[in-house]
């Protein structure tokens, strides 16, 4: 930025002799400014277009979608009638008996032949079910690797580990999606069924709700043993494609992202802080954890926030590995339908300008706002952190 102060040198050009050149310079500057505005224009255009097209579907703007349809609607549903012993009730001809019920429904059923449903709830849950676990996992690994690389590893080790990490950053997400489909899926199924791990996941209070909700019943009850034998003998509750498979794949995408930003944040901590800690007798480990990490903590937080933004926006891995069922539970070993995967799977079939098409733009807009806000927060935190580190030194 220091460079631009040089432009004042152009004042010399204002003499009559070079006025043609001066005009030329101004023209060039204006042209460059115009090109540079393209970045601003395109992001603004993306936002306006998503908003415009997304809102077109609403009744207010001439579509058929009531605003509350994006949340939930009251609708009629037929349920099977059960006998007291749990078996299905049949009529005299042996046909199943159904009864009509009014239910509050929040489903994503955009092509239903009865009433199209556009609830965002399953999609938001689907997106978060993938993004949060992957971000947490990647944050743990990414930040630890960053601390190791920046504070503790020797130069030699750095020279080996860093390029390999960059290699991972260069892997296209469709490749990781493929890998998740053929390898991680089997891995997740295998590892969750190692008895020790199964026990841990199904008996630890919060974890069991996330992994084996069928096992959250009271201890010693029949249900628990049923759940245990069932899950062990028959496979993961949600089938072999599930949110956890997708989350592991997405974590591989964002580990390098988080590690890189986190390492930058750690390196921005001035050496004076390290020297002070060392001078007081702190070891390298103490220095790293008690002095450097606290000084860089907001930068590390920013890394995680930006990583979360990336994982919310990841498409191909989620499309290929999570099973894409639009369900609303929090079970990580069950499926989930993320916003990104929904757009990727459905945009091709929806006639341009129709309600379904507009609804896809609406959810695209929601996704855009989420990631936009996360990016802004991340940027602000990073800038603050930079100023703080500079001010503190």
């Amino acid at each position: 930025m220091a460079v631009s102060s040089q432009s004042k040198g152009n004042n010399a050009l204002r003499s009559d002799k070079s006025s043609a050149k001066y005009t030329q310079e101004r023209v060039i500057e204006t042209a460059l400014l115009t090109v540079a505005s393209l970045a601003v224009a395109s992001i603004a255009l993306i936002f306006v277009l998503l908003l415009y097209q997304g809102l077109q579907g609403l009744t207010f703007f001439g579509g058929d979608i009531q605003p509350n349809q994006f949340w939930s609607i009251t609708t009629e549903k037929e349920d099977l009638v059960r006998n007291p012993d749990g078996s299905i009730k049949t009529d005299s001809e042996g046909d199943f008996v159904y009864e009509k019920k009014q239910v509050i429904s929040s489903d994503w059923q955009p092509t239903s032949s009865q009433l199209p449903q556009y609830s965002l709830i399953p999609l938001l849950i689907g997106s978060l079910k993938v993004a949060l676990p992957s971000a947490i996992l990647a944050a743990l690994i990414g930040v630890f690797v960053a601390i190791y690389l920046s504070e503790l590893a020797s130069v030699r080790v750095r020279e080996v580990v860093k390029p390999i990490l960059e290699l991972l950053a260069g892997v296209p997400s469709v490749v990781l999606g493929f890998f998740a489909l053929v390898t991680i899926a089997s891995f997740v199924e295998w590892i969750t069924h190692i008895p020790v791990i199964f026990e841990f996941l199904s008996q630890t209070p919060v974890l069991n709700r996330l992994f084996f909700p069928a096992c959250t019943f009271a201890e010693g009850s029949d249900l628990q043993s049923v759940c245990l034998s069932r899950s062990q003998a028959l496979g993961v509750t949600g089938g072999y494609l599930n949110v956890m498979v997708g989350a592991l794949g997405v974590a591989l995408v964002i580990i390098p992202v988080i590690a890189t930003i986190a390492e930058d944040a750690l390196r921005a901590v001035p050496d004076s802080i390290r020297d002070a800690s060392m001078a007081l007798g702190g070891s390298r480990w103490q220095t790293a954890f008690s002095a450097v990490v606290p000084a860089a903590v907001s930068g590390l937080a920013a890394a995680v926030i930006l990583g979360l933004g990336r994982s919310l926006g990841e498409t191909m891995i989620v499309l290929m590995a999570t099973g894409n069922a639009s369900i609303t539970n929090l079970n990580l070993l069950d499926s989930g339908r993320a916003i990104t995967a929904t757009i990727a799977a459905e945009l091709g079939e929806s006639p341009a300008g129709g309600d379904h098409y507009n609804a896809l733009f609406f959810i695209g807009g929601v996704l855009f706002i989420f990631t936009f806000v996360l990016n802004i927060i991340g940027e602000i935190v990073i800038n603050r952190a930079r100023q703080k580190v500079r001010g503190g030194s």
Binding site: F96, G235, T328, E349
Partner: protein, 295 residues
């Protein structure tokens, strides 16, 4: 300087490209749609172009809805569809000045598949409806083990998805817990890996697979298995004895002419039907003749 000239050259060639492009359209048939049909269509395209090298056929999947949409929007000459066009779609086409012509090309039986280890090998329409709408969630309710049912299905863009919904589910919505995969082969893959899985798909995808089982289905009358001894049960499917069967269509944007017509005629010829027969059930001679009459 040199860079500027090369930039100019690229710009000029790009402009030329824009002007010349219409000429490139001649000799290209764009066929788009059903994933059920995409492999068969690709094989048709390969075989036909080998005989007629001047005709290039562009094949894209994405689902029947996608293909019909593209045909309506004029982005494809032929839409491959595994279901009939809906009235709404026909209206949309007419609005764009297109009168679609429907051509039957093959018959597809839809099989319901389960894991090899699953003891349930027979299901009625009622049971299938209850299973796929999520009303029945445990295999023991349909005569199986005490285990949760794990549903697999197709994207809503797929004709198979719509046909199965209208034919078997009486138009009711699929259960939200249905895991949605991108292709029939992926469904087969999932069911071989998930002991509690159940899915539906074109019978041609499953005939050669030893690692999963097709279910005998009963609508009225007897249970019929679409695959017998590793062979597609052609007779039962063509006669309608096996209930979940449908025609596979090509929709042409207007009465086909020129290369498109020649291609469709070839598809209905014994050579084309032989390729169709590899995965599906070919049309019988009288149906094929009737379809040729529409051209």
């Amino acid at each position: 300087m040199l860079r500027r000239t090369s930039l100019k050259a690229v710009a000029v060639s790009l402009t030329c490209a824009m002007l010349l492009a219409p000429m490139a359209l001649a000799g290209t048939i764009t066929l788009k749609g059903s994933d059920t049909m995409v492999n068969m269509a690709a094989k048709w395209a390969n075989a036909y172009s080998r005989k007629n090298p001047e005709t290039k056929i562009q094949v894209t999947g994405g689902g029947s809805g996608t293909g019909i949409k593209s045909m309506i929007d004029g982005q494809a000459n032929l839409a491959a569809s595994s279901r009939e066009m809906k009235a709404k779609e026909v209206d949309g086409a007419k609005k764009n000045g297109i009168t679609p012509v429907e051509i039957k090309t093959a018959i597809d039986g839809l099989a319901v598949i389960v894991n090899k280890s699953n003891p349930v090998k027979k299901l009625t329409y009622q049971q299938l409806e209850a299973i796929f709408t999520g009303q029945v969630t445990n295999w023991k309710d349909v005569g199986g083990k005490d285990a949760p049912i794990s549903l697999y299905g197709r994207e809503s863009s797929s004709g198979t998805y719509e046909y199965f919904r209208e034919e078997v589910l009486e138009g009711k919505n699929y259960a939200a817990s249905t895991k949605v995969l991108q292709g029939t082969a992926a469904l087969a893959d999932a069911v071989t890996k998930d002991v509690n899985g159940i899915a539906y798909g074109g019978v041609g995808y499953f005939a050669t697979r030893k690692d999963l089982d097709t279910v005998s289905v009963k609508k009225k009358g007897d249970f019929v298995d679409p695959i017998v001894n590793g062979q597609i049960n052609d007779a039962a499917i063509a006669s309608g004895q096996y209930p979940i069967a449908r025609f596979l269509y090509l929709y042409s944007s207007g009465k086909p002419s020129g290369e498109v017509k020649a291609f469709v005629e070839w598809v209905l010829s014994p050579a084309g039907q032989k390729i169709a027969g590899a995965e599906y059930v070919p049309l019988n001679a009288s149906t094929a003749k009737a379809e040729l009459g529409k051209l």
